[in-house]
Amino acid sequence: MARKSFMYSVLEAVQYEMRQDKNMVWIFELTPPVSSNPGKPVINLEKEFGRNRVVNTGIDEMWMAAATLGCGLAGSKAVTYIPYQGNCMCFQIIQNHAGKLRGMTGGVASMPIVFILEMTGQTPGFAGQHSDYEIDTYYAHIPGLKTVVPSTPADAKGMMVSAIRDPDPVAFLYAGGLRELVEEVPDEQYTVPLDKAAVRTTGSDITIVGSGGGMPEVLEATAQLQKQGMKVETIDLRCLKPMDTETLVKSVQKTKRLLTVDQSYYTLCPGAEVIARCAENVNGARFKRVAFPDAAPPASPEMFLWMRPNAGHIVAAAKKLVG
């Protein structure tokens, strides 16, 4: 057990699995699989496993995703780290190939593969193209692809282990804004399931559901609301597909009020799916969505920070829903 960053935790999981499986490969561009952490040895996958298994490609996300899939189809475990600049360049490979091959082959395709898809949307000034948080919606829509979005270093490690060991393709959404987040993370290898939401606080007044890069603001809002006496049940979605309907419905049956929070655009944001599932299964509940407006994120910090959901927005929306 030690305090570890998000990135270090992910690479620790990968390092262990690569040591166990000599066939497993890692494909990257621009972002070397290197991380250091106080009191821990530096992890450098490229150095440890060599360039034969850890490949630094040219700028070609299509190849990265396709090669990862090809490795899987050939029987090797493979992980690729696609930086946020290119996280939709590889969409076709994941959506129309990886996502459908299980079905199209009648179940026989071998796809023990992980697509780490970095996403931003946290940084004022980065403007439209470098603020692409909306991929949670895109990738969660694909059948045959497990799509997860961890929000803590400990979850990131456990879910990465599960993703690598899972026989199905996994989109592991990596919120760039959480890269430096630090918490206690076990040294040993462990798994976190790829189909379970996490209840972060329990309460009976309102259910607030967030995910990934939005969670720090959700937790901050939760703390503020609790101080004001509201009993808040906060759920970290963690898994977009399959979605943990049971945990969500159970909570909303109790609170009868559901507020969803997304950094993604309003239309078809993950929260829309959460609300739909709860609406189908809970009578008499009230719902509200906080999300990024349906507009490309502007560069100007004044515009961007006003538009991006924050703790203040969440607190105000929760009060409207409960009041």
Partner: protein
């Protein structure tokens, strides 16, 4: 600099060492060594005649080219210094210093004024400020945009990676690597389909060779004989990786042979050599003869992004760049390239030709510096954006609803 080299016409590719068999370091040494000693030869990977057009240009045009190089240089230096010294400054840049001769040499061969159906179009990259200035974008408005001001070039919506100015045919910067080239070829297709004499130019880095878009743009432009010019600025690094990681060739221009189009290697530090190959490519495009791939060998004096490793008042960035994580450029490499500086080369050539004297050249550079200082000072006085304006410009008409309040 010898005239013999600058006057060199296209040559058949010389037998070269196998790039794959040489180490990255050995290769670098040969490139920088050649760069430091004499200019790189202009080389046609697909044999063709290169005229030495620049020598026939009127004095005012030649002086304007030198002036624009100085304007870009001082824009970059002023902005880098501001990033380092002004803690309130929010702008950033992928600095172009060191590569000025490429943008200026190419844009000098283009039509940059007139109505939108006459002006040539330039598609830029994430390193756009040099291209923008060379194309004719207003420096003040660009400086305001780069600091996200309401009166900036694009109203504060875009910032450095999305600078765009239709008035001079600067379609704009692009934060992504790849798609812009193919989109530019689409503009070239429109020109051909409507019988226009306009040309479309895309500036891109060495990292673009690895993208599928490189092939898509050149293959389709070749098949359709489009008025399209791909200016590949090979500054040796895509972000922090040497291009030998992503390209099996020493000269990326060799790829043009695959598409049966001209592929020209040019010394990107010498604006007049760049102009010559650009003019040849533009003439060819306007004549309906199809696309050209120009590879300009050049170098950036700053790191990939921002000003890490730079000191206020000094040109260039040296040493460790925290963003590079595990690899960074050797200081000797940066200094070797700075020996062949585009500002110095253009000035010395024009003095040699009797177009300028040293005093006038220095005066021009001082005025360029002053212009940059004033541009950033003007930008500092511009109003910030209104938060709610973020809901505009989604569609031509109207605004979208706010959704962040629930």
């Amino acid at each position: 600099m010898s005239d013999t080299n600058r006057d060199a016409v296209a040559q058949e590719p010389s037998p070269q060492d196998s790039f794959l068999s040489t180490s990255r370091r050995t290769f670098f040494k040969s490139v920088a060594g050649a760069g430091a000693a004499v200019s790189l030869l202009t080389k046609g990977a697909w044999a063709q005649e290169i005229g030495y057009w620049a020598k026939d240009l009127p004095n005012e045009k030649l002086i304007q080219m030198y002036t624009d190089i100085c304007r870009i240089r001082w824009h970059e230096r002023t902005m880098a210094d501001k990033m380092i010294t002004d803690t309130k400054y929010r702008g950033y840049n992928h600095f172009y210093a060191g590569q000025e001769a490429v943008a200026v040499g190419v844009c000098a061969a283009l039509n940059n004024k007139g109505s939108f159906d006459q002006v040539d179009l330039v598609y830029s990259s994430h390193r756009p400020t040099g291209h923008a200035i060379a194309k004719g974008v207003d420096m003040k408005k660009m400086a305001a945009e780069n600091d996200f001001r309401a009166t900036g070039l694009n109203g504060g919506y875009g910032g450095e990676m999305h600078l765009s100015d239709k008035s001079c045919g600067f379609i704009g910067a692009d934060g992504m690597i790849g798609p812009g080239h193919v989109i530019a070829s689409g503009s070239a297709f429109a020109f051909k389909a409507r019988g226009s004499k306009q040309v479309a130019v895309v500036f891109a880095g060495d990292g673009t060779y690895a993208t599928p878009h490189f092939h898509a743009a050149l293959n389709n432009a070749a098949m359709l004989k489009l008025p399209f010019i791909y200016v590949l600025e090979n500054n040796l690094y895509h972000q922090y990786a040497h291009y030998s990681y992503s390209c099996p060739m020493k000269d990326i221009a060799d790829a043009a042979g695959t598409y049966r189009i001209p592929g020209v290697v040019v010394d990107g530090q010498d604006v007049f050599q760049v102009y010559n190959v650009a003019k040849t490519a533009v003439d060819r495009a306007r004549a309906g003869e199809g696309p050209t791939l120009i590879e300009a060998k050049t170098y950036r004096y700053y790191n990939h992004w921002g000003a890490p490793g730079a000191k206020a008042g000094e040109l260039g960035a040296f040493g460790y760049d925290p963003l590079a994580i595990s690899s960074f450029r050797p200081e000797r490499e940066v200094r070797a390239w700075m020996q062949r500086d585009p500002v110095d080369i253009s000035r010395n050539v024009l003095i040699g030709w009797g177009v300028l004297d040293r005093a006038r050249a220095e005066q021009i550079e001082a005025a360029a510096k002053q212009e940059a200082i004033e541009a950033f000072a003007w930008a500092d006085r511009q109003p910030m954006c209104k938060p709610e304006d973020g809901l505009k410009n989604v569609f031509v008409a109207g605004t979208v609803p706010a959704r962040q309040f629930g």
